[in-house]
Amino acid sequence: MSRASGWRSRYDASPGTLAVLAAIWAFFALFLAYPLARSVYQAFFIDGRFSLTFFRLIATSPVQQQCVLNSLNLGIAATVLTTLVALPLAYAMTNFRFRGKVILQALLLVPMVMPPFVGAIGMRQFFARFGSVNLLLMKLGVIQEPVDWFGGAGFLGVVILEALHLYPIMYLNVAAALANVDPSLEEAAQNLGASRWRLFRTVTLPLVLPGYFAGAVIVFIWAFTDLGTPLILHYRNVVAVQIFEKIGDQNVNPMGYALVVLVAAFTLLFFYLAKRHVGGQRYEMLSRGHVADRERPASRPVAIGIYVCALAVIGVALLPHISVLLSSVTDRWFMTVLPSETTWAHYGQVFSHELTLPSIKNSLLYSSLSTMLDMVLALTLAYLLTRKRIPGGWLLDATAMLPLALPGLVLAFGYVGCFAGWGIDPRRDPTVLLVIAYAVRRLPYALRAAYAGFQQTSITLEEASLNLGAGPIRTLRRVTLPLVAANLVAGAILAFSFAMLEVSDSLILAMRERHYPITKAILSVLQRPVDGPYVASAMGVLGMVLLTVSLVAAGTFLGKRMGELFRA
């Protein structure tokens, strides 16, 4: 047995497959590895010599220390808060059956439809010193003096806004994990005499933990690296804002690179820790077959309890949305609980303003191009990973999933440095890099969706087609694609809608007004005196509508498997 034929019997290594593999690796090398490597290089080498100067500067500067600490605290606080909200809700929703559950479940996911930085615009109005909440409470005589809700620094405000936006992701993950626990495993424990609490502690919880960590890592990384919300709430002492402010002098001051490397190191560490808990345990219990219904009917008090809790959460979580809606129709809102005069004019502004309309067009262009790129990549990768035995398959999978752990901030910062002077220099025209950044960032969702589709489609269905004389292309077209179409569409919708609302990389890469995507335009419009916040809110509402429609569509295509898309 020669080595060559050993290789041949181990892998499907036709020239075509190898060429596709090479192209994909080249893409990752150029747009993922190179920017990261360059950031690392810039952070550690001064004039070609290894140095820890910048990290020493971070370590010794009280301001920088405070920033890192603040960001970590943000991440941890948001994770804890979402856990407290999502865990009990997920447990109740998967274990009990009651009237109106489907609607309640859908409502729980609604807060996702607006990025937290847009919510922040409205919430400023609500929770300001003389904002709605204080005025209302003073009117009711609950308080005499206005309360400083978000405490001068705004930490609490940022955490709350992020938690309210992110708890659905945690909820989806935990609920999916709970639903996947085969009830017979729990029945076995009950049969052996375990009490309900003991059962939860020794069987249910360990089985759900991987799903919980998958959600927790997404929440943590998101809050840890969020740029938009702190910017709007003027909470500038976080790493994300620091990095953003160092884009301009990137070439003269490598401090930004050092911070980027630090952030990447943190996120990768947490991703790795979470992955170790998730790793390999996820599919063991998916031995379908007879799966008993785990739901039991809820007694009236239990059902009422669930309703009260869930509606309270939803009510609070929708405050930002309501505030933005109100703000978007405000003509006058000063020292009153609700706007004193309302108008639709801001929506008119959205469609006539020289900045906003092009930004919507730009966003649509960038997002649809990046979605197409995602679909091509996801389809190819999922096909290779599920249908071919390729060398280094696990590494390819891990690389494609890496952007989950990689803040848009880090990627975009690297792009600006890497591609200066190239034809795709974002200073000249950011279209190509924005499309690629969006695509790389959302590839994990698209890939998981496609991958799940291929995995659920038995390979014998394709073999049957080949056997009946259809070639590989016809088989792909007539059998494989129709069968994975639902998953692909869902993946595409998610990739598209998230690309539309991409914040950090949009802020960094789009440098001229005529290239602004909608998110950067919102921030820019916000700065305008007088009606800035109102027009920005109107744009936020439009974005909200768009994402709602997209998610509902994705949900119809995917059904219960929706939760799987938000797993690390």
Binding site: S5, G6, E463, L466, L468
Partner: protein, 360 residues
């Protein structure tokens, strides 16, 4: 219709040997079975014939044409998959039509052939349904119709009945056998169910650990197993260890066993006095000894019995040696536990196999 041949076909997965130098000739029009326990390489053989696997070395031939490296879609085989592999996004009709569509059969002829194929498997009324609306047995028929409608050179069946319940399985055996005779096609059928193979096959090959251990007709295999493995795998058997004490002239061989002397009417080539052998005797070959039975009389004690309706199965013992015996129509003579009884067996029913061969 075409003959199918494997020539020293070997398939490695990494360093694991799935099929080890298999040579096999399936005649045109034959219903040939590959039988063996799971993991023996039978499905790998079938998939090499279908073209889903390329042999690591050796060749696959259709007639005298080497097809080892021909892609599956150019082989004109019709395969019935274990899970049927019906496309859920197409109707029953479209599933069956698919292969004809690929072959660009004109639409009127196509319709005729699909309808004929569906009626041959008694499924003409279900053409518009989705495969998900059908029962397992119905899906099985559609899978068969889909494979047959293209008039393949070879029909390949991969454990097609393993997902059906026992009663339906028996029914479908006859059905497939009937279809095979009607269509007159070369068919290769993979199964681990020996009763399926015995009842349906023209000829069968038994595989074990990637190799073929014996090829023959069902009757040859059952009555003349070449090894302990074959004797045990096909049906139940008693294997009595012993040593050859007498070899008659081209005739009977006598073996000394713990139960006494047994005479076999078969003499394996090259057997000599003193050779260690095992005597394979089927449970149903024993009868209660009459007075006129001269040879092969065994005196044993009844340990337990199990009444199964048509037969009654007895566990008997003499010293350390246990025997399983089944008697048909057990209503009349019944042994009870503790009885000492005398059994007889016809020398024709005593088959000698090499001692310790393929005991795994």
């Amino acid at each position: 219709m075409v003959s199918v041949h494997l020539r020293n076909a070997t398939k490695l997965f990494g360093s694991a040997v799935a099929v080890d130098s298999v040579t096999l000739d399936v005649e045109a029009g034959e219903l040939f079975f590959l039988l063996g326990p799971s993991g023996c390489g039978k499905t790998t053989c079938l998939r090499m014939i279908a073209g889903f696997y390329e042999p690591t070395s050796g060749d696959v031939l259709f007639g005298d044409r080497v097809v080892s490296r021909v892609s599956p879609h150019k082989r004109n085989t019709g395969m019935v998959f274990q899970n049927y592999a019906l496309w859920p996004h197409l109707t029953v009709y479209q599933n069956v039509e698919y292969g004809l569509d690929v072959r660009r059969v004109p639409s009127t002829e196509r319709r005729e052939r699909v309808e004929r194929a569906l009626s041959v498997v008694h499924m003409a009324d279900h053409a518009k349904k989705s495969p998900n609306q059908l029962s397992g047995g119905q899906q099985q028929r559609i899978a068969l119709a889909r494979a047959l409608v293209i008039e393949p050179d070879v029909l390949l069946l991969d454990e097609p009945l393993s997902n059906l319940d026992a009663k339906l399985r028996i029914e479908m055996r006859q059905e497939i056998r009937r279809l095979h005779q009607e269509v007159g096609i070369t068919a290769i059928y993979v199964t681990h169910d020996q009763s399926e193979a015995l009842s349906m096959a023209d000829r069968l090959a038994i595989m074990h650990q990637g190799r073929i251990v014996q090829i023959g007709t069902p009757r040859e295999m059952y009555t003349g197993p070449a090894s302990e493995f074959v004797a045990q795998f096909i049906g139940e058997t008693n294997l009595l260890p012993g040593r050859v004490v007498e070899v008659g002239d081209g005739g009977p061989v006598t073996v000394e066993t713990p139960l006494g002397r047994l005479t076999s009417a078969h003499s394996p080539r090259g057997i000599a006095v003193g050779d260690p052998v095992k005597c394979s005797v089927r449970p149903e070959a024993f009868v209660p000894a009459g007075t006129n039975d001269g040879v092969n009389r065994l005196t044993v004690t009844v340990e337990s019995s199990m009444y199964l309706g048509a037969v009654e199965e007895f566990r008997l013992r003499s010293g350390d040696t246990a025997l399983t015996v089944s008697l048909h129509n057990p209503g009349h003579r019944v042994f009870t536990a503790g009885d000492t009884v005398v059994l007889a067996v016809d020398p024709v029913d005593v088959v000698l196999v090499p001692s310790g061969s393929g005991a795994a």
